[in-house]
């Protein structure tokens, strides 16, 4: 049962009569990066209350004010009682004075702080096991804390973390003795009547938990696992200043939790999921749920394949967020939806069929539209090609010219492909008149296609899409009764974020969201119900396997942090700061990240899943060193530019 214990600690416990533990950051942790982040979260929690309505400045400045009041209370206490040790009441007395609020309001804020402390607390598994080992060896156990909370409050937190008596608890705020000064250790020794050399103490603070007890003759162990082994593994840099410390502190705190308790976190794919993509998808989910609370719909459609994970989150947590709209996962792909939706000539939308980085011939392009090149030879020549076998790279204006010349054939071909998918569109729309749809985003083609096909039979449906982002060309899909909402970028704004997404972010995000099934190839009617036909592509299956590991990590992050999110109030945590770790990855990947994720492949064009290109190809060393034309061409083709540079420097 205790096989995984640190043998040095285990031996120390064996030899001691009294085992002493520090409490905060030793036996229990708070799911924030630094203790001050609790106050950031407190301000968020109060953000939707009447306190913020009547005292907006107080709530906005609360984190700093709360810290200042603690310092003020300590100094005041020292002047009167010759000790810095204070209780929570002393801090709130200072806050009442500083903010000019009454007892009732300060009481409400204090209660909120205590509730939040309880929400963020979790045990350190190693130390908890050591504590249980000490009890199993019938050692006396004392817990020593330099803290302003009362013993009763701290016991409540310990209880929540699964650490129950028998233990005695010494708290500096009540006893006016501290570990920092060493006086608490003297008190422990007197109270238990045990010689110093029979006492062992474990704690995380170098001075209070190691230097100070050592000077009193107590065997002390500096428990620095978290700082030494966990914090360096955070992928999210600690040095940067973030606009939203409540969210970023919570992200880092949750990741520390996962790194501490979960051995799986040592797998790269799981870890990148937990540290990067977990915060990203949670941020979008919070944003989505908040929208759905205030803009209800009859149903929420989650579009395959990129909304599969979001659908799983929705099924599990929507109720906790106060959203009770039925959700449904629906099978569409750009291949099945885009071309049949050409009810009109819309060159911007049409152009997406011909996007992609690989060079294709005119004949290949036309075959996607079921157009026989031999029947349009005159148009091919007049557009400037010498034959249908000419290459037509992405963005080739000759191809654009050709499409314009043959548009009537395109509209007819689209019309021929329409029946099956239109039936499925009607089936999933049912009799709903307000439909919310969730997908990854970019130019709104899926919504635009769905809406166009539905428009052929219904003009009473309001369709609202919820995306990570939309690019400027989304306007090609603006239709009556259609709304587009975006979490991170809207119509390519802000431009710096759009730039990141266009230089690798989109492909990384699409990899992460890949569902555990193939793309939708078409539909079949079975006993009056239209069902999707899914692709079975071996290369895609390997891709799905890796994505599944990343998704497991992401879901672990969500599970870990969700209780705190619910406690703070999801509506108070709507923020794009959840995406900071993701943008860090896109813009500034580590060599390991560039190497492993750079080898992932992405389907080259909207309607072609079999032709895949690497996100950031590693070139031959000679080509990379010379940085010549071949390098430049490969750089232009690379989806993920920053990783390409790292892999080929």
């Amino acid at each position: 049962m205790f096989a995984h214990l640190n043998p040095i600690y285990q031996k120390a416990v064996d030899q001691a009569e009294l085992v002493s533990f520090d409490v905060f950051d030793t036996l229990i942790h708070r799911m924030v990066f630094r203790p001050v982040n609790v106050f950031n979260l407190l301000a968020k929690r109060l953000g939707s209350t009447d306190i913020a309505l009547h005292h907006p400045r107080l709530v906005a400045e609360l984190p700093l004010l709360r810290e200042q009041c603690e310092m003020e209370a300590r100094e005041r206490h020292f002047r009167h009682f010759d000790t810095h040790e204070i209780a929570l009441d002393d801090i709130y007395a200072a806050l009442r004075e500083a903010a000019g609020i009454d007892d009732d309001m300060s009481g409400q804020i204090m209660d909120a702080e205590l509730l939040l402390e309880a929400a963020v607390v979790y045990p350190n598994p190693g130390m908890k096991a050591l504590y249980e080992y000490a009890l199993s060896k019938e050692k006396q156990v004392v817990l020593c804390s330099d803290m302003y909370l009362s013993a009763v409050q701290i016991k409540g937190l310990l209880e929540k973390a699964g650490i129950s008596p028998p233990f005695e608890l010494f708290v500096s705020g009540e006893l006016k003795k501290s570990k920092h000064e060493g006086s608490m250790f003297e008190l422990v020794r007197e109270h238990f009547g045990i010689a110093s050399d029979k006492i062992v103490h474990f704690g995380d603070n170098e001075h209070s938990d190691f230097v100070s007890p050592s000077t009193k003759g107590i065997q002390a162990h500096h428990f620095d696992l978290v700082q030494k082994h966990t914090e360096p593994r955070l992928r999210f840099p600690l040095s940067a200043a973030y606009a939203e410390p409540a969210v970023t502190g919570l992200i880092q705190g949750a990741i520390k939790n996962i790194l501490l308790v979960d051995n799986e976190a040592h797998d790269f794919w799981f870890d990148i999921g937990a540290q990067v993509f977990g915060p990203l998808i949670l941020g979008k989910f919070i944003w989505l749920a908040n929208h759905l609370r205030y803009h209800p719909a009859d149903k929420v459609l989650f579009f395959a394949r990129d909304a599969a994970l979001m659908h799983a989150l929705y099924e599990r947590y929507a109720g906790d967020f106060g959203v009770d709209i039925p959700g449904e996962y629906v099978y569409f792909s750009r291949a099945t939806l885009l071309v049949p939706s050409f009810t009109e000539l819309n060159l911007e939308r049409l152009w997406h069929v011909f996007s992609g980085r690989a060079n294709r011939t005119v004949k290949t392009h036309l075959s996607r539209l079921d157009i026989n090149p031999h029947l349009v030879r005159r148009e091919i020549l007049e557009a400037g090609f010498s034959s249908e076998n000419d290459l037509a790279p992405a963005g080739d204006l000759k191809m654009f010219d050709l499409l314009c010349r043959i548009y009537p054939l395109i509209l007819q071909a689209a019309s021929r492909r329409r029946d099956a998918v239109t039936g499925y569109v009607r089936q999933v729309a049912g009799d709903s008149s307000r439909i919310a749809m969730v997908d990854i985003g970019w130019v709104g083609n899926m919504q635009g296609s769905f809406s166009r096909l539905l428009q052929l039979s219904r003009t009473d449906v309001e369709l609202t899409g919820y995306y990570y982002g939309t690019l400027e060309s989304v306007s090609a899909n603006y239709l009556p009764r259609n709304n587009f909402h975006s979490y991170l970028i809207s119509e390519s704004r802000p431009p710096n974020r759009a730039e990141s997404l266009l230089n690798g972010g989109v492909e990384l995000m699409e990899f992460f969201h890949t569902a555990q099934h193939g793309t939708t190839l078409g539909y079949e009617n079975i006993n009056g119900t239209i069902r999707p036909i899914l692709e079975n592509n071996p290369e895609d299956i390997e891709f799905q396997r890796l994505a599944a590991r990343v998704q497991q990590g992401a879901m672990r992050f969500v599970q870990t942090v969700m209780p705190v999110v619910l406690s703070v109030g999801a509506e108070n945590l709507v923020s794009t700061a959840w995406a900071e770790p993701f943008f860090r990855l896109v813009d500034n990947p580590s060599p390991e990240e560039a190497e492993l994720l750079g080898d992932l492949t992405h389907s080259d064009a909207a309607t072609d899943t079999r032709n895949r290109l690497p996100l950031a190809e590693k070139l031959d060393a000679g080509i990379a060193r010379r940085k010549g034309a071949e390098y430049q061409a490969a750089y232009q083709q690379a989806y993920w530019k920053s990783a390409f540079k790292i892999r080929n420097r």
């Binding site: 009810t343 007049e382 314009c404 509209l411 019309s415 428009q455 009473d460 603006y478």
Partner: protein
């Protein structure tokens, strides 16, 4: 009559185009329509043969009315409308075309819009201009260009319609009951009868804009004197003549009724604002900013008169270009503009730019 669309097609000796128009209608996914082809004094046998060829697809929904001699475009429209007996009316000229979903979407959207706002009695869809030529009994498409792209949402402006036509007949579908109030098309107008009708329509009802490009307004610039010419190119001068005739007529009517007076008209000046704001942008942000403005002003560009002094204009343009300090930049911009929007639109842009230059204080 419930839900039926009366599609009126006016034709005269253009079998190649009429064939395409019939296919455009037969291909509609919305099937409750009747097509009235009014052959306005053209070869009757050719039209009958063509209609017979499509008998199977038409399922008795195409009727042909032959005029012994030409009565004019609008008289042909009225004959067709009277024969249609339909809930909705659409004028589908013989040289234009629709996407197969035009009627399905236009009818559904009109029903929806009318149910919410009863004054909405018509819809237009957005359109492309299709430039083409006739070759070996076939229309060969050369390029396409968005038609009035700035009119892409909301309602058609009556005010803007008074200055210029805002849409082509092929874009428009309306409820036939409106004809009781508006009256039919004016048969005395050889051109612009649709514009005049639209003004009357808009003075009583609203027209909703469907932001989908489902209509195709075909132009043949290089067939100026053949039967395949477009009226607006082949008869440009007549268009200008009747445009002014109508405007004078409207103003005269207002003056007579006392809705406006000669003195109030005399005190009006052309609004200097667009030019002034362009000048300011030019001074502050250079040519880029002016070009950005031009897209928005595209429907006003046509209204600007180009001074008919080509040699002087060319020399002045050349001088300004060389003095710009960035001749290569502007050359590339020019080439890019030609590629993007064609020579005609680029020339309009250049002309406006030259006008702005001339009106700048020196």
């Amino acid at each position: 009559m419930n839900g039926k669309v009366g599609i009126i097609t006016r034709t005269k000796n253009r079998p190649v185009l009429l064939k395409r128009a019939i296919e455009s209608v037969i291909d509609q996914s919305y099937e409750n329509w009747v097509m009235i082809i009014v052959n306005d004094g053209g070869d009757q046998i050719a039209v009958d043969n063509l209609v017979r060829h499509y008998e199977q697809g038409a399922k008795n929904r195409i009727n042909v009315i032959h005029n012994e001699y030409s009565l004019g475009m609008e008289a042909a429209s009225n004959i067709g409308i009277k024969a249609a007996n339909a809930e909705y009316i659409a004028i589908h000229d013989d040289d234009d075309s629709w996407s197969p979903e035009f009627l399905a979407i236009a009818v559904a959207e009109l029903k929806q819009a009318h149910a919410s706002y009863p004054r909405i009695m018509g819809v237009i869809t957005m359109a492309y201009i299709v430039y083409e030529r006739i070759e070996s009994q076939q229309a060969v498409i050369e390029r396409v260009e968005e038609y009035n792209p700035e009119i892409n949402t909301g309602l058609i402006s009556l005010e803007a319609s008074l200055i210029d036509p805002q849409f082509a007949p092929i874009q428009f579908l309306y409820r036939s009951e409106t004809l009781a109030d508006t009256g039919l098309y004016r048969e005395d107008l050889p051109v612009l009868g649709d514009w005049e009708f639209n003004i009357r329509f808009l003075s009583k009802y609203d027209i909703f804009v469907i932001p989908q490009k489902l209509a195709f307004y075909h132009h043949r610039q290089h067939d100026l004197h053949s039967t395949y010419g477009n009226s607006i190119f082949a008869r440009r001068e007549r268009h200008e003549f009747f445009r002014q005739l109508l405007k004078n007529e409207w103003l005269r009517k207002d003056l007579e009724s006392g809705a406006t007076s000669i003195s109030s008209m005399a005190s009006r000046r052309p609004s200097p604002r667009p030019i002034a704001s362009l000048q300011q942008d030019w001074a502050e942000n250079g040519m880029e900013a002016v070009l950005a403005h031009l897209d928005k002003l595209s429907n006003r560009i046509a209204a600007l008169e180009w001074r008919r002094r080509p040699i002087r204009n060319f020399l002045q343009l050349q001088r300004l270009w060389l003095k710009s300090g960035r001749p290569l930049h502007y050359l590339f911009r020019f080439i890019e503009s030609v590629r993007r929007q064609g020579v005609a639109e680029t020339m309009k842009t250049v002309k406006l730019w030259l006008d702005i230059q001339r009106s700048r204080p020196t």
